[in-house]
Symmetry: C2
């Protein structure tokens, strides 16, 4: 018997989905990107993605309000549609709950789902509601659409393309560290001190918001369209910059150079990393859960992309034999490795 942790998530998926047969002409892209691509209409393609969130693995209800959880569960899926340069349209929501949940609990969860869907003009069209012996399980499927020529896959990056990222990185990871620390403090308080032990997040609000309430970057997709930039490849950052750029490079059969000094960081992220005695670049590379967009554009779009708000050019694509490396501030090269969050280890 082989332990799943030996293969890890991506190794396991490769093994389980190896040599999958294909019966339908409408299946244009199966396993291996942010979404599957379906459709017989050459103009309008359908994008489908699904994500499962398990209590105790993906979220901790001791510090995650159910409304935020619903909001995040939707956002994580919308982000996958945007990562293909598509528009999300419909959502299916399956929930399994144990006896400790009431109708009002589920209404809070749904309030978050509804809020996310309203913001992104997405329809909740179905799902499943059932019970669970233990924790809460949420499975969401999102359906979107895109015109064929607009779709940004993982495998389209070319030599000399610029590597770009939206927003800033590592903040969600630092938010998680702060939540975990406050939880430990809370759990170790004397019983008599229950009232007094209020967590102190002052000056860290942004980090907390990044982990509890991420925003799918529709604004970036819209800005790219308005500017006439068509990304050659794109992915959303759920497992960390390092893991995601490696997905793009492996799928596109290229190498890359990222520049440490170009990686966008928020001031709060840097301050918290110092407080926790962590290297902030490591947090940005491997932290995950940022749900920012990582994409490549042709070198000729350099000026256009530099003019975009909240987008940073952090490196470039190379020939595959150059490998994938980070250039540190002192000029040293480090090989990039996927050390992002792995739920199966």
């Amino acid at each position: 018997m082989t332990d799943i942790s030996i293969l890890g998530e991506f190794g396991l998926i490769r093994r389980l989905t190896k040599d999958l047969p294909q019966f339908n002409a409408g299946t244009l892209k199966g396993v291996g990107d942010d979404c599957a691509i379906l459709g017989t209409d050459p103009k309008l393609r359908m994008l489908v993605t699904t994500d499962m969130l398990m209590e105790g693995i993906h979220f901790d209800l001791t510090y995650t309000p159910l409304e935020h959880l619903g909001y995040k569960a939707a956002m994580v899926n919308l982000s996958d549609i945007y990562a293909m340069n598509g528009t999300p349209r419909q959502l299916l929501v399956s929930i399994a709950v144990s006896r400790r949940f009431s109708v009002e609990h589920l209404e809070q969860l749904y309030a978050g789902l509804r809020r996310a869907c309203k913001k992104h003009r997405v329809d909740i069209v179905g799902g499943d509601t059932t019970s669970s012996l233990t924790g809460l399980a949420i499975s969401i499927t999102c359906i979107g659409e895109a015109e064929e020529q607009d779709i940004a896959r993982r495998d389209g990056a070319c030599d000399t393309d610029l590597i770009c990222v939206s927003g800033n990185l590592g903040a969600a990871y630092m938010g998680l560290q702060i939540m975990e620390r406050e939880k430990a403090v809370f759990n170790s308080r004397p019983a008599s001190d229950a009232e007094a032990a209020q967590p102190d997040f002052s000056g860290r609000e942004y980090l907390i918001e990044r982990i509890l309430k991420p925003e799918a970057r529709r604004d970036i997709i819209e800005a790219l369209r308005e500017t006439g930039i068509r990304p050659t490849s794109m992915i959303d950052i759920s497992d960390g910059l390092s893991s995601e750029i490696l997905h793009i490079c492996h799928s596109s059969n290229t190498g890359c150079r990222l520049y440490e000094e170009r990686i966008p960081l928020d001031y709060q992220t840097a301050a918290a990393a110092e407080e926790f005695n962590l290297n902030v670049t490591t947090c940005a590379l491997n932290g995950g859960e940022d749900y920012e967009l990582l994409f490549t554009v042709p070198l000729t779009d350099h000026e256009k992309v530099c003019a975009l708000e909240d987008v940073s050019v952090i490196g470039h694509i190379t020939h595959p034999e150059k490998g994938c490396a980070l250039i540190a501030r002192d000029g040293q090269e480090f090989e990039l490795k996927a050390q992002g969050w792995n739920p199966l280890q």
Copy 2:
């Protein structure tokens, strides 16, 4: 705080999905049928359905081989597409597993999924693989297609339509009773007797197969097409005949009369019901998990539908004020109630 069991599954869904806004013209039918109906192409519609299966609630691994579980998880979803008179095309598979599962366990589960998909020519196009703190959770989304004029919803039944059902009913429920009894026998054996305690299913193989390895009725959909019968409404029987015909009648705003003597039963079902001292009609009405198709056809299709193999006419649709009733063998009328399997009670 309101206990979920007070509302039940359908009451909870109604409450959570009440007044859902709709933003997209491509959302043709949301919550409330076997599938959502999507699409902007008036000729070809997209059907989407999703189901979540939780260990200890929907399946018991002490007597469910993982390969059968994978097969059944796919079939349950394919059945929902057929229940709209559609053709399933793609499947997304999300799995959460705890540490007691090995790579080989998941390969068994996938072998069943692949077998079901091969049989029905469906492509596995994506999913999610993650971990769980306790049991196994499976969430499957199936995408299918149908031409607009072929789609059979729940709300199309009309007065005088014939009510038809495929195959026979109650067998899966009796199979479950037998499995549960053998499990109890096994658990109460003396420890020294571990080898000897082999379950005895002789003469009950069909019932066991019905609960462990249901088959989605593509053959019935194909037969209806070949014969030129277009069902006015259709649903698959997952929660029991009673619950499903009530869904059709409520959605269509009609009543119905079912005839007890017409309900198709297998000999093994009747024999097992007697052995367990259960009323076999009650098993057929409320048992669930049969995954047969329940549909209505215009009275003018009477001859055509009677000529179909493995289809029984079990009653007819009436005006709504006549209510929904079963006519027993002795001519007495009983009001139909949804007492099928409810995972939230």
